[in-house]
């Protein structure tokens, strides 16, 4: 009976407690929307001005994430359990007294189970209430909208931004907005990039269209110009040819005239002389004929006298003889005269002939002179040099040519005129130009907007809604995105880099004045001589690997620096070095470095281009080839200096198995253990970068090592001080070195 009463009391208490718990739940929060306390819009720092951050705090009516719900359950359960415990204590006391009065005892085991049961029931009830509250609570969403200044004034928010679920924590999902600082979970951050991006896209689109149209215009123009230039050039060529021919023609004409001028008086004189001589010859011939006739008459008279004499003998013989003598004398005189005339005629004829010959010679000489003159006047007129008739013929030919050329030129001029007239292409081009102009002005406007703070200021409005009710944030907020010229998050990095650079450069300058700087012993680099000497003694070559990265990697550059030093020693020892490469550019650099090294020690003849060769740019193909080389050739020494990945162990294990002395150096931390295990000497991290200075012992390079030491000392001090300060809760130094 007592037990039933006790159980009844327990149930009543339990119900009472459960009702109390339910009362404690913040049910009213679900019923009412509450606006966030603060809403800001700020320029996203350290970007190129294309984003604005919207920041607002979490309002009490926001939905709560599951882990928060657990916290709420815990928070609500604990005071209820405390109250329950107090109530249970009272119940226990009552029950104990009641049991005592009835002469019985309260079972501790039963009481413990009752207590546990009540605790579990309270906890379950609280959980159930909280869960049902949060599951039934309306989902709160934030509505963001954006407007341009003029629209914001008119209260037109026509550019809606994506709705934001209050369940989402932008702070934790997008830590980039906060650098490495812990995100404030009580704030929402949303990056708004669209408006600016849209403008930028529009600008780039317009720029592209301008460029495209401009290119097309330029192409069309170039084609037209090309056509026109071709026609013009053709026309010019023809014109010049015509002018040339005209000039030639003129020249030929003048030459012909000169020839004519020279020939005319000579020919006139010849004709005149010929005429005179002919006249003289004619007169002489006439005189000769007269004389002949006289002689004939006299002969006839003589014959008749002879006949008379023959007929009248003796008496008239004397007179006849006298007459004969007279006639004979006259005959002799006539004969003499005829002979004289003959002689004179002959001399005149010979004179005429002489004159003719002379004149012809003179004409010939003049002609030759003129021909020479013609030849010397133009080289182009070789075929034209000759007699004036030939020149005339040539001139006629040239004239014809001039006519045809003139016709062609006229045609060309017509073509040019056609080309210059506004054709379809030109019209299209004009249209395109107009488009370009339009696009340019649009782009200029956009650019102006992008630069103008008034134009680029954005107005944002925040509203919160649960689907039934909507509350608007009282005032809109504004923000202006600005393109940054300096990333202030990297300010500490910049300052430290500048300081360190000054220290390094200062110590380099110091090293120039004081060259005997101490540098600690690096056994891996001391062993280079030994390794090269061993290869020489064994008559085997050395294998040198520069790692798997290209020339863009500092470790590869450091490796090529060391290669140069090693190659010098190899050349001095008259040994051979082989460099299998996995990057063609690295191969070219290595070839140059080794060649220079051989040349610098006076052994250019010993250098072989084939010893530095490309194998493969695939990691394991390269490894397989290199392992094969090691197994077949069994090199005396292997150098592994550079950045290595998984192939490090594959290479060094094979190298160790063939008994090569191995020197490795890398800044790949994951591969260091493998190198340490399998190689004879290992350069750890920074030693790889110190190697070049160590091997060369150049004061300038040693100075940079001292600079690094100073940097390390500074960092060591900073680490110790920072650790101490952090331990006592001062995080200033830690914050100072974090990205800002």
């Amino acid at each position: 009976m007592m037990r039933i009463v006790g159980a009844g009391i327990f149930v009543l208490f339990f119900l009472f407690l459960a009702c109390g718990c339910a009362k404690e739940l913040p049910r009213e929060r679900a019923k009412k929307l509450i606006l966030p306390g603060e809403f800001k819009a700020i320029d996203a720092p350290n970007d190129d001005g294309n984003a604005v951050l919207l920041v607002w705090s979490v309002a009490p009516s926001d939905n709560v994430r599951p882990q928060v719900m657990e916290d709420v359950i815990k928070e609500k359960t604990k005071p209820l359990l405390d109250k329950t415990d107090e109530a249970l204590k009272g119940i226990k006391r009552v029950l104990k007294e009641e049991a005592k009065s009835k002469g019985t005892t309260l079972s501790s085991e039963i009481w413990k189970r009752v207590e546990e049961g009540v605790h579990d029931a309270v906890a379950a009830r609280v959980r159930g209430e909280v869960e049902s509250f949060y599951s039934s609570a309306p989902r709160v969403k934030y509505i963001l909208s954006m407007a341009r200044p003029e629209k914001a004034l008119r209260d037109e928010w026509d550019q809606p931004l994506p709705e934001v679920d209050s369940d989402k924590s932008f702070a934790s999902e997008n830590p980039k907005y906060f650098g490495l600082k812990s995100a404030n979970e009580m704030l929402h951050y949303l990056e708004v990039v669209e408006p600016y991006k849209k403008l930028k896209e529009e600008e780039s689109k317009l720029t592209k269209s301008i460029v495209k149209n401009n290119t097309e215009i330029e192409k069309t123009l170039a084609a037209l110009k090309k056509d026109m230039n071709r026609v013009r050039a053709d026309m010019e060529r023809k014109k010049s040819k015509r002018e040339e021919i005209t000039a030639q023609l003129k020249e030929i004409g003048s030459i012909a005239a000169a020839i004519r001028e020279v020939s005319a008086p000579v020919e006139e004189a010849i004709a005149e002389k010929r005429k005179r001589l002919e006249e003289e010859i004619n007169s002489l011939t006439a005189a000769l004929e007269v004389t002949s006739r006289e002689m004939e008459t006299m002969l006839k008279a003589l014959i008749s006298g002879v006949d008379q004499l023959t007929a009248r003998p003796a008496e008239k013989a004397e007179s006849f003889t006298v007459a004969i003598r007279e006639l004979a004398a006259r005959l002799d005189a006539a004969e003499k005269k005829r002979k004289e005339l003959d002689q004179k005629t002959e001399s005149l004829s010979s004179e005429k002939n002489k004159l003719m010959v002379q004149t012809e010679r003179e004409i010939e000489r003049d002609k030759k002179e003129l021909e020479k003159k013609i030849e010397s006047l133009t080289a182009m007129r070789k075929g034209l040099a000759g007699k004036p008739e030939v020149l005339e013929a040539e001139m006629k030919e040239l004239g014809k040519k001039i006519i045809s050329l003139t016709t062609e030129i006229e045609e060309d001029e017509k073509t040019i005129a056609v080309l210059e007239k506004p054709t379809e292409t030109l019209k299209k081009m004009e249209d395109m130009k107009k488009e370009v102009q339009k696009a340019r002005s649009e782009r200029d406007q956009i650019r102006k907007r992008l630069k103008d703070p008034k134009e680029m200021t954005y107005y944002f409005k925040l509203e919160v809604t649960d689907g039934k009710e909507t509350l608007a944030y009282p005032t809109p907020v504004t923000a202006l995105p600005v393109a940054n010229y300096f990333n202030w998050a990297k300010l500490n990095n910049f300052v430290l880099t500048v300081l360190f650079s000054i220290v390094v450069m200062g110590l380099i300058a110091y090293a120039k004045r004081n060259p005997n700087l101490f540098i600690r012993k690096i056994s891996g680099l001391d062993a280079v001589d030994e390794a090269v000497g061993r290869a020489t003694e064994m008559g085997k070559h050395i294998l040198y690997f520069t790692g798997l990265l290209g020339m863009g990697s500092l470790s590869t550059i450091a490796s090529t620096n060391i290669l140069g030093r090693v190659a010098r020693k190899v050349a001095q020892h008259d040994s051979q070095i082989k460099v299998p490469c996995n990057d063609p550019i690295v191969m070219s650099v290595c070839q140059e470095v080794v060649k220079e090294a051989y040349t610098s020690v006076g052994r250019p003849d010993a250098y072989r281009d084939d010893n530095i060769f490309f194998v493969s740019n695939e990691q394991f193909s390269f490894t397989a080839a290199a392992d094969g080389m090691m197994m077949r050739d069994r090199p005396a020494t292997n150098f592994f200096l550079g950045y290595f990945y998984a192939e490090a162990l594959l290479l060094t294990e094979v190298g160790a198995s063939v008994g090569a002395i191995q020197i490795a150096g890398t800044d790949a931390l994951n591969q260091l253990p493998f190198f340490v295990t399998t190689c004879d000497y290992t350069l750890i991290g920074e030693e790889l970068y110190a190697a070049s200075a160590y091997l060369s012992r150049e004061p300038v390079l040693l100075g940079s090592l001292k600079g690094q030491d100073a940097g390390k000392l500074f960092l060591a001090v900073l680490v110790i001080v920072g650790a101490i300060l952090s331990s006592v809760g001062i995080n200033y130094l830690t914050r100072l070195l974090e990205p800002l």
Binding site: T497, G552, D610, L650
Partner: protein, 210 residues
Amino acid sequence: MALVKRRIPLALAFCLGVVFAIQYYVPHPVSETVLTRSNLWVIIITSFSIVLGLSSLLHIHIGKMRTLAPGWGYSAVLVASLVTTAALGFVLGKDPGSPVFWIYTTMYVPLSGTMFSILAFFIASAAYKAFRARTLEATILLVAAIVVMLGNVPIGFLMHKYIPVVGNWIYQNPNMAAQRGILLGLSLSFVATSLKIIFGIERAYLGGGD
């Protein structure tokens, strides 16, 4: 020659070094464009450099085949594979289903996988060498390695619940401290080496050493 081999490369190294050092601190669109374009140039130049590599490769291996040098058979296989794959790729493409794709998936990938799998045996061999407790340091290394290894497998927890904790502590504290120490030194070396290259103090990579 000094102009081409020394002065121009040094001037280029200086100018580009300074420009890109500044670029790192400038988030302006112009700066970003410069970086993007330069990266494109690098990709283009790197692509063309494969011609250099191929010419070197063919020169070496055809030379071996011509002189019948030891191992010339391997060279013949290499040249034949190179020519066949390239020809098939040029003619039939390299999309899935093409002969080149088949060669890649059924020959190249298994061969690469085989090479990579050998690493497991080499790691075991290297571990054996490293863990031989000949000195105090090696013994410490051995003990630490055993604890870390056991901490990463269930049997470690079964042996003792603190083994994973100790293993994790070794990994997160002494190991991390050493790694960060090396990294700090490396970072300073990077800056110093970059400075030396930018200002032309380190010139050995140009050849000749000084």
